[in-house]
């Protein structure tokens, strides 16, 4: 009875909030409408849809022993209290993706992105995460790649491995580009980000030699030091001689990120990777909570229109129509294929009761999606003119402030050079024009929210706190991703020559790390020399690859559901799969065949090649044109490969399902046999 009353209450609140959004279409609306609608929709999804899936579709069984209990070893298989496991899982899945995607998608207006973040998460992303988590828990915590191989066949396994490696490389490159653009000619930002490296090393030494394993005290020490580094950056910025040491253009910063990534990959993990991850986890959780509180306290007005004229495909941040590019751009905030790797990695080894997959799988993704909503609010509370001035590349709006404000005001989003100068000054930056990549505009948005909650005098500090916060976990993703990429590459190379597959053999580790860094370093370099900012090319490619990985995960899930006699419920994963297949294939088709040079890879390459041959390019553009032409063609081929991989897996899954439905033999299920659960109660204070 109480469930029904809560449900009706939530549905009414959601309807009211959505109605509020609909009625205020042509006037500024308050962010609280969006927050209320989002929270109600997540709760409704969790309370009803997730509960129904857990009970009917997945037949979650609280009496069944989990691998954490059966294989308990006190190390990685540890029965863990559900809230602690929730914290671990959320910290693992939450990354910079849901911050960047919504910021870019805001060029279409606040409404399309917000709706997809909500609908995509409740019906797609959360379902994927929970389903894969349960399937892996039922299979001793096997990885997505292994499940694909066991349940579908070697093709599925190969596609999952290749897809993961490719997405990793593009992800790291695009994140590297985001961080380079945030540090470009910003001595405050650069010195703060640089300072986080020795702080992490210090924490690493503390944890290794001084007080082994005292994670909490070491993390608190490290967080205090990086907060000091933010203030220290302000000091650096005001000292004439010193500030020049940290004032770099994009190319040297890209070089620094590449060398840094390579060094971090070959150094032992305890020195840099592990300690910085503790810092970033603390900062991430702290900032997300702080942001939620600040948004509710300040309840800012959304200034961006609900829908802008750029839904026709002429958007300045990236080209392409609302369909399918809003879905490709939002990516992680709605559904992220990457999560299926964590949901079939460390988390299933912590689950102490199958019934917890609803909170841990569905709940964590709902919270991640809420982070995306907050990023959308931070982007759209800015004056639209300011938003476009920060996020549009000089190659699109013109290199001088006068040209930029004229172009942007011409779109119907008035902004003045004076306004931008005052804003840059308040944020402690030299300029905020053409700071593409999403991080600076998010930081301006966050600084305005924090500034109006906790004191406006500190705007510049809040801005650089936000930059540092993004940088710290972008760099963690960069190191961790390079390392995982190295293991996958060693796995692949080992099939060619055995010794290369030995992960502990130093020459092999060195070769594989260098190859992985070279791959993303190449994309980062091309992104930096591209006058259009590079993010406009790389982010859609990342979105396509991430959604493709989600498609592979949902194919594995659908295949297993049909094989285990649940064909009548298979629509639960089949509908999001069909939608993802539709949007990724449409996006890929347009990126490959579109004659519009702002969308089609080959069209852009041919256009540039033609202008290079005709000699109509300015000298500095002609110098980098050959690399840009090669890159556009490479991206085109890569997009074809992604699409082919996705369809191979889908067809393979359909083949297995058809055989099962016709009663022909299929590979046996790899589900571990039922064993009764003996664990009675897992105390709050239990963790891996």
């Amino acid at each position: 009875m109480s469930t029904k009353i809560t449900g009706i209450g939530l549905a009414l609140a959601a309807a009211l909030a959505l109605g509020g959004l609909a009625l205020h279409r042509h006037e500024p609306i308050n962010a609280l409408w969006i927050v209320t609608a989002a929270v109600c929709i997540y709760l409704l999804g969790y309370r009803f849809y997730a509960a129904w899936i857990a009970a009917r579709v997945l037949s979650v069984d609280g009496s069944r022993a989990t691998p954490a209990e059966r294989l308990s070893n006190g190390r990685d298989f540890v029965p863990t209290h559900r809230w602690i496991a929730f914290g671990h899982h959320f910290a693992a899945i939450a990354g910079p993706g849901p911050l960047v995607g919504p910021t870019l998608a805001a060029q279409f207006g606040y409404l399309p992105g917000t709706l997809w973040i909500l609908v995509g998460a409740v019906l797609g992303g959360c379902v994927q995460d929970m389903t894969i988590l349960l399937l892996s828990t039922r299979r001793d915590g096997r990885s997505l790649g292994q499940m694909a191989r066991d349940e579908l066949g070697p093709l599925g396994g190969f596609a999952a491995l290749t897809g993961t490696l490719a997405i990793m490389i593009i992800l790291i490159a695009v994140l590297g580009l985001v961080i380079v653009n945030a540090m470009k000619h910003s001595p405050w930002g650069t010195s703060t980000v640089f300072a986080t490296i020795p702080v992490a090393i210090l924490v690493g030494i503390y944890l290794r030699f001084l007080r082994p394993g005292r994670v909490l005290e070491a993390s608190l020490l490290g967080v205090a030091l990086v907060l000091l580094a933010v203030l220290g950056g302000g000091w650096v910025d005001h000292r004439e001689g010193i500030r020049d040491w940290f004032d770099y253009g994009a190319l040297p910063l890209a070089g620094f990120v590449i060398v840094y990534g390579w060094t971090a990959a070959i150094l032992p993990v305890w020195l840099l990777l592990a300690p910085r991850d503790y810092l970033s986890t603390f900062l991430k959780l702290g900032t997300v909570m702080l942001l939620a509180v600040a948004i509710v306290l300040t309840h800012p007005q959304i200034r961006m229109p609900a829908i802008t004229q750029f839904i026709d495909g002429s958007g300045p941040l990236f080209g392409g129509k609302l369909f399918p590019f809003v879905f490709i751009t939002i990516a992680c905030g709605a559904i992220s294929g990457f999560h299926s790797l964590v949901a079939s990695g460390t988390t299933p080894k912590l689950i102490s009761n199958e019934a917890d997959v609803r909170l841990i799988g569905y709940g964590s993704m709902a919270l991640e999606s809420f982070v995306a909503i907050m990023a959308m609010i931070a982007a759209t509370l800015l004056d639209p003119g300011v938003y476009f001035a920060i996020n549009t590349a000089a190659g699109v709006v013109g290199a001088t402030p006068e040209a930029a404000v004229q172009t942007i005001s011409g779109w119907g989003f008035p902004v003045t050079a004076d306004q931008m100068n005052r804003l840059a000054q308040a944020m402690g930056e030299r300029t905020l024009f053409a700071r593409t990549g999403g991080a600076p505009s998010l930081a301006v948005g966050m600084a305005s929210i924090f500034g109006s909650t906790f004191g406006r005098g500190l705007l510049a500090v809040w801005y650089h706190f936000a930059i540092m916060f993004e940088a710290v976990f972008i760099l963690t993703t960069l190191d961790a991703g390079t390392r995982v990429g190295r293991f996958m590459l060693q796995d692949l190379l080992g099939q060619a020559w055995k010794p290369l597959g030995r992960t502990s053999w130093y020459p092999s580790a060195l070769i594989a790390s260098t190859l992985v860094v070279a791959a993303w370093g190449y994309y980062l370099y091309v992104g930096v020399i591209d006058p259009n900012g590079g993010v406009n090319i790389l982010w859609p490619l990342f979105g396509i690859s991430n959604q493709m990985l989600a498609g592979i995960a949902l194919s594995v899930a659908t295949g297993i559901l049909v094989k285990s006699g649940k064909a009548r419920y298979a629509l639960v994963t089949l509908i999001p799969l069909a939608w993802l297949a539709l949007i990724t294939t449409t996006a890929a088709w347009q990126k490959i065949t579109s004659p519009d040079i702002r969308i089609g890879f080959f069209a852009a390459a041919n256009d540039l090649a033609g202008r290079l041959a005709a000699g109509t390019l300015p000298a500095e553009r002609a110098a980098v044109a050959p690399q840009l032409i090669f890159n556009q063609r490479l991206d085109g081929w890569l997009t074809m490969l992604f699409t082919a991989l996705l369809w191979l897996v889908i067809l393979d899954m359909l083949r297995v399902c058809a055989r099962r439905l016709r009663g022909e033999p299929v590979a046996q299920t790899s589900e571990a046999p039922y064993q009764v659960r003996r664990l009675t109660d897992v105390p709050e204070g239990s963790s891996p």
Partner: protein
């Protein structure tokens, strides 16, 4: 007076729960958990030292996908 004492005892108990939750959430108590597990499953054998345990768990954590986009 007794009401005040009861409230403060409740507050201290609440603080303890928060503190142990915080320790668990960041893995600060992992070694203590391991010792409990080890002494139960392998009585009489010497467990790994705190330093060894921490090194090994770090190595394991960073050999797989533990961070996302």
């Amino acid at each position: 007076m007794s009401g005040w004492r009861g409230a403060s005892a409740r507050f201290i108990r609440w603080l303890r729960v928060v503190w142990s939750g915080l320790r668990a959430a960041c893995g600060d108590d992992a070694y203590e958990r391991y010792l409990v597990h080890f002494s139960r499953e392998h009585p009489g054998r010497p467990p790994a030292s705190r330093r060894e345990f921490y090194r090994e768990s770090e190595q394991r954590k960073w050999s797989g996908v533990s961070r996302c986009c």
